[in-house]
C-alpha cells in the first residue's frame, strides 16, 4: 500500500462536544490514511468513537460536536473546513456514505429508480436515459433480482436486506472514490451479510474504491479489511495490517478484544474477558485510557498518554513498545 498516494488522510483529528458541564473530547489525536482500493476497518466498543470518526469525515457531525483540531485531507485537499454546501457536493460525488439503517438514507416518497437517476444526473455528466440504464445495472450488481422491473418500486416495497442493497447502490452509483460505511451489515442476517460484504470487496478490488468500514463485527473485518484501526475511548489504540491485528495484536486492548470473541470452531469452558468497562467520555483516566483495565499496566501508563509507537508489525499506542528508554 506504499506505492500509491493516500486518498484520505486524517491528521490529529480532535472532536469536541461542548456541554454545560464542560467540554467532552470525543475523538483525540486520531490519525490514519486510506489509499485507493484499500479497505480500512475501524473496530472498537460502542462509544469508542468509530462512528464519530466516519461522521467527521463526511461532514455530518451531530451538533454541538465540532472538529477542534487536526485536519482531514481528501485527495490532498482539506475538507474539514468546507462549508455545508461544498461538503454536500463532495459527499454525493466523491465520498459515498452507507449507514446502518437504510431507512434514513432513502426517501420514502420517491421510487428507488428516481433516487438513483437523480443522484447520477447530479454528479455525473450523463442524461436521464443513460442514468436509468446504469441504475438498472447498479441494482443488478448489488444483487437485486429482476432489477428492470423493481427499479420503479418504492423503498417500502423492498425487504430489509434488499433495501440495504439499494442504499449501497445509491452510495456507489455516483462512483465515489471513497466510501464511508458505518455498520453496513449489522442490521442484516448472516446470509445476506455475506452477499453484501462480497459486493463491497469486489468494488474495492475492481474499481479501486477506497473504503472505511466501521463495524463491531470482527468477523466482517477479518474477511474484508486490508488494514484495521482499533479504537478505544476516542483514540486509535492500534493500527496495522488485518492479519497482524487479528492474529498477533500488540496493544493489550486489541489482544483482549480479539481473545474475547467466542470461537466458532471449538468450545471453551471460560471465554477470555476484559474486566470492567470502557470509561465514559466525562471520566477518561489520566495517562493511557486503558490503564485501569490493562493486565500489563505499569507506572508510566498511569501518568503519560502514549502516542502510536512502532510495535513491529503494527503501530500501537502503548508504552510497552517504547524503545526510547532502552535507546537513551
Amino acid at each position: 500500500m506504499s506505492n500509491t498516494a493516500p486518498l484520505l488522510q486524517v491528521r490529529n483529528l480532535r472532536v469536541e462536544f461542548p456541554t454545560r458541564r464542560g467540554t467532552l473530547v470525543a475523538l483525540d489525536d486520531v490519525s490514519f490514511d486510506i489509499s485507493p482500493g484499500e479497505v480500512l476497518g475501524v473496530v472498537g466498543e460502542s462509544g469508542a468513537g468509530k462512528s464519530m470518526t466516519g461522521a467527521a469525515i463526511i461532514g455530518l457531525l451531530e451538533p454541538p460536536g465540532r472538529i477542534a483540531k487536526g485536519e482531514i485531507l481528501f485527495d490532498g485537499k482539506r475538507i474539514d473546513n468546507l462549508r455545508y454546501e461544498q461538503m454536500r457536493r463532495i459527499r454525493g460525488k466523491d465520498i459515498g456514505a452507507i449507514f446502518q439503517d437504510p431507512l434514513t438514507t432513502l426517501n420514502p416518497l420517491y421510487t428507488v429508480g428516481r433516487q438513483l437517476v437523480e443522484t447520477m444526473t447530479t454528479h455525473l455528466p450523463i442524461g436521464p436515459g443513460e442514468a436509468r440504464k446504469r441504475a438498472i445495472g447498479w441494482l443488478e450488481m448489488v444483487g437485486i433480482p429482476a432489477a428492470a422491473q423493481r427499479i420503479d418500486s418504492y423503498p417500502h416495497e423492498f425487504s430489509g436486506g434488499m433495501r440495504q442493497r439499494v442504499v449501497i447502490a445509491l452510495a456507489l452509483c455516483a462512483e465515489p472514490r471513497l466510501i464511508v460505511a458505518d455498520e453496513p451489515t449489522t442490521a442484516l442476517d448472516v446470509s445476506i451479510q455475506a452477499q453484501v460484504i462480497a459486493l463491497l470487496k469486489t468494488l474495492a478490488r475492481e474499481k479501486g474504491t477506497a473504503m472505511m468500514l466501521v463495524t463491531h463485527d470482527m468477523g466482517v473485518i477479518a474477511e474484508t479489511a486490508d488494514r484495521v484501526a482499533v479504537m478505544y475511548a476516542g483514540r486509535v489504540a492500534e493500527i496495522g495490517p488485518v492479519r497482524e491485528v487479528v492474529k498477533h495484536a500488540n496493544h493489550p486492548y486489541s489482544v483482549g478484544l480479539m481473545a474475547s470473541i467466542p470461537p466458532l470452531d471449538r468450545r471453551v469452558e471460560r471465554l477470555a474477558q476484559i474486566d470492567g468497562a470502557m470509561p465514559r467520555l466525562s471520566a477518561i483516566p489520566q495517562g493511557c485510557a486503558y490503564n485501569p483495565r490493562c493486565p500489563q499496566v505499569f507506572d508510566k501508563c498511569r501518568v503519560l498518554r502514549p502516542d502510536l509507537i512502532n510495535a513491529g508489525t503494527t503501530r500501537a499506542a502503548c508504552w510497552l513498545f517504547d524503545t526510547e528508554l532502552a535507546d537513551g
Partner: protein, 343 residues
Amino acid sequence: MADATPMFEARDLARHFDVSRPLLQRLVAREGRRILRAVDGVSFAIPKGTTLSLVGESGCGKSTVARLSVGLYGPSAGSVTFDGRDLAEARAMADQRRRMQMIFQDPYASLNPRWRVADIIAEPIRAFGLMKTRAEQENRVAELLTQVGLSPLDGQKFPHEFSGGQRQRISIARALSSNPEFLVCDEPTSALDVSVQAQILNLMKELQQRLGLTYLFISHNLAVVRQVSDRIGVMYLGRLAELAPAEALFRTPRHPYTRALMEAIPDLDMTGRERIPVGGEVPSPITPPPGCSFHPRCPLANDRCKRERPELKVAGDALVACHAVEEGRDDAMPMPAIARAAA
C-alpha cells in the same frame, strides 16, 4: 439428569398472529385474513440443569418461542409443560411461576428507567412475598448484586448510570432474585460489545453451575451458541430444521440450511476466505412456500421437497427435517469448512 421429567417441554407448539388489515380496508381491497405463522409446530424438551439453544435468522420464530415458554404469549396450538405441569396451570400458581424467569435482549429497555436498581431487583421478591422484612430484602439485593459482579452500593443508583453490560448484570440479578430454576434468555448478549459479551456469557455459565439452572437460550450467533449449549435447535420459518447435541451439530451439520448457515458466518481464522452466501432471502412467514419452506434456497431440493413438508426424523445423533437427508441425497452438499476443520 437423574430426574426423568424434563424441566421444559414443547409439543407441536404453534403461535399464529393475525396481521390482517382492519376489516374495512380488507373489504375494499377484497383480501382475506393474513395469518403470520411465527411458530408452526415445534417440539423439544430441556432436561434439568442443561441448556438448549435455538438459533436462526431474524423472523424464524425463536423469540416467539421464548415468549411462549414463559407465558407472555399463549400457544395457538400444541402444548407446553413446565416440570410436568401444563404451563398455563403452572403460571396460575405463584410458587411455580417463581421458578421461571426471563432475561431480555435490550439492556436499555429491560429496566424501568424511573426505578432504583434495588427496587428493580427486589420486584420479584416483593411480588412473590419471598422476604418478610425490609432488612431481609435489602440483604438479599446486596447479595444478588455481589453475585453478578456489581457493588451493593449500586442499588441506590438509577439504570441510566450504568453501561450496557452492567445493566445486563442487573437484569440477571432481577431474574435470579426469585430463586428460579428455569431461565429463558432471549438474545442476552447480542446488544453488547464483544468484550462485555464474554463477561456476561462467563457469568451465565458460572451461575448455571453454581445454582443448577436450566436455560432456554435464544441467539442468532452460532459461535455464542456453541459456547453455552448442550443441545441446539436450528429454526427456519417457524419450524425446527435440525435439533442436535451441540458438538454433533458442529461436527456433522446435516440439514442443508444448517450447513449453509455455518458456511455463511465470517470467522477470524479465515481472513481472506471467501464465504459462500446462502442465495436468496428468508421468505415471508405470511406466505411460506409449500412443502419444505427452505426449498427455494436449497441446492438439494427436488419435487418432493416442493410438495411435502418434512418432519423431524432421527439421523445419527440428531433430529433432522429434510427429505434429502432421509433419502441419503445430502452428500451432494459439502460439509462447511468449520465442520471439516473439526473432523
